[in-house]
């Protein structure tokens, strides 16, 4: 990365206020934060017009470091907070960053309902397969057989597939990449920010301190290699049978690419504005 792009990203950071970050060395979250910044910069979105909302967890610390309108909320609830902002200010660019535990366990229902509404929120899910902030417990995306501090003998829980949930629930843009495929992740985040509707970008990420250390991937490089080896490109994924896919998922494989790009679904706040317009013109007849 050249000097110019480093300084460009720095101009979006609260360098003098809250650095260094809480993240461990080798953590994947910082790269995703930089990807979000690059996307905002690429699209020339005014900082004043961006609300960055998060819940609780390692990835939810992102808003503290970035110079937007930032809101660090309660565990799992980033989406409803963001929904409130979007309802009142439909013109604002609302981004939610969330971890796998935050988004899919405690916040799972909010995630589903935001997808159902197709409200214009860009949702970046940083999936490192573990609860990092609390010290390494199993999350809803921990692959079966993997070790965490609450699954010391290997997890028996089948993992969630956030991309499938988002697609089924109605999100109109859904994509997945990983920290290894960070350029691709950047590209998807840019497309998500440019999309009007609920957009979900999952970035499979690395937690060397906990998930890696407990699962025989001691260095961050080992985990990046794991992402490289376990990622299945879209073209190959589409050719696999249903059984092959579910077996691959249980083993920790994940498909990368764009799963949903639906421009036809109306966005929620647009629909509400139309409704307001209509009833005001009709003067609330009959009520």
């Amino acid at each position: 990365m050249d000097i110019e792009s480093v300084s460009k990203e720095h101009s979006y950071l609260r360098i003098k206020k809250k650095f260094p970050t809480v993240w461990c060395s080798g953590c994947g979250i910082g790269a995703v934060m930089a990807a979000i910044i690059r996307s905002v910069d690429e699209l020339q979105i005014n900082k004043n017009n961006v609300a960055l909302v998060s819940g609780i967890g390692c990835s939810s610390r992102i808003p503290i470091y970035v110079d937007f309108n930032t809101l660090h909320t309660t565990h799992g609830r980033a989406i409803p907070f963001a929904t409130g902002i979007k309802m009142v200010r439909p013109d604002m660019k609302v981004i939610v960053v969330s971890g796998d535990g935050d988004a899919l366990a405690i916040g799972g229902n909010h995630f589903i309902h935001a997808c159902r509404r197709n409200i214009d929120i860009t949702f970046v899910l940083i999936n490192n397969h573990i609860y990092g902030m609390t010290g390494g417990q199993a999350s809803p995306t921990t692959p079966q057989g993997k070790i965490s501090h609450t699954t010391p003998y290997g997890s028996i829980d089948p993992p969630f597939d956030a991309v499938e949930i988002a697609s089924a629930a109605g999100a109109s843009y859904v994509a997945r990449a990983s920290n290894y495929h960070i350029v691709q992740a950047s590209k998807y985040i840019t497309k998500a920010l440019d999309h009007r509707g609920m957009s979900v970008v999952e970035v499979v990420s690395n937690c060397p301190t906990l998930f890696g250390r407990l699962n025989k991937m001691k260095s961050p490089v080992d985990q990046l290699k794991w992402q490289k080896d376990f990622a299945i490109p879209m073209a190959k994924w589409e050719k696999m049978t249903r059984e092959e896919r579910s077996q691959a998922k249980i083993e920790g494989h994940f498909a990368i690419g764009e799963f949903v790009t639906d421009m036809s679904r109306p966005e929620y706040t647009d629909l509400y504005e139309q409704l307001k317009q209509k009833i005001r013109e009709e003067g609330n007849n009959g009520k």
Partner: protein, 388 residues
Amino acid sequence: MPNEKPKGTPAFMQGNEACVDAAIAAGCRFFAGYPITPSTEVAEGCAEKLPLVGGSFIQMEDEIASIAAIIGGSLAGAKSMTATSGPGFSLMQENLGFAYMTEVPIVIVNVMRGGPSTGLPTRLSQSDVMQARFGTHGDYTAIAFAPSSVQDIYDLTIHAFNCAETYHTPVVLLLDEMLGHMREKLYISDESEIVIKGRNYPEVPPEFFKPFAITPNMISEFVPFGEGYRYNVTGLTHDEEGFPTGKSNEIAAKLRKLRKKIHIHRKDIMRWDEEFMEDARYVVVSYGTAARAASSAVRRARSEGIRVGLLNLKTLWPFPGYRINQIAESVKGMIVAELNMGQMIREVDRYVMGKCKVEGVLRYDGDALEPWEIYEKITELRSKVRGK
């Protein structure tokens, strides 16, 4: 006071409806909620009326999402409200604390029903008054009002918004099933006569803006998201700029600020009604629907020459303890009438400090207190005190 000539246009409406109209008159432009008996008419009213005045309504997936959404909406600049009942109020407690910590103005209406648990969805109680005070975790200083008529609901809803917006804090309005569903006459003031308060917007440019500054009156400046003042909001204990802090002095200063902000303005927040207090030897302390029965009982006792007064609290939190303490100096006994197993009576007792007798008339079977129950308690207490 009850004998003043009422101002405004007469109207006849349900308590929950009055709450909606008052909220809109107070400037509420965003409501997020989830259906729950007996509060649902508030959500229904907002769904119908808010879009007509340029506001927004959204039905969320649960009560946790509802309060989260109104905090977001308030941060984006809209006066915001939600309405619920006991079980939903329990679910809201975590984010209630979040709004308090992050100093975001919101109004939460709790139309109380019987509890614990699912309890009595269609029957009344006043058993959430302590939950409104201590429900969220951590040291918390609450503002909560308890209206006792549809007129009160209208007036106190506006006052609740004014307090939330002035002090940048959550305010709880405690209605109950009977009050929410009853229809009664009220007078609605002209728009020009309603006092509406707003937030304390900054005079400084963004680079000097401290969203959580500790000021002499403890009220910081507020600016909505998207106005060019990019700042951080976090439920973590934070410094004056809104960034998480671990420094003991900053932690203590923040918590003191939150408490003092309400404490030093308590006289502007508190409202209560007194009847027949001038020469009272006994006083009935009550609030909400129970105060209606208490008023009737006091009038009957007065007609029989018993010198008894009524204190209708209206403001439960901050508790008007100093007034209770003053009254305790001059009376022989206090009766606390409430629809629970004895919640506010403890607070009354705490401020009486043994200066007079304190006894409760408590009902917790889902029915309203009857005036005769309170009347009998008055005569019973009188004979006890006289018998000494």
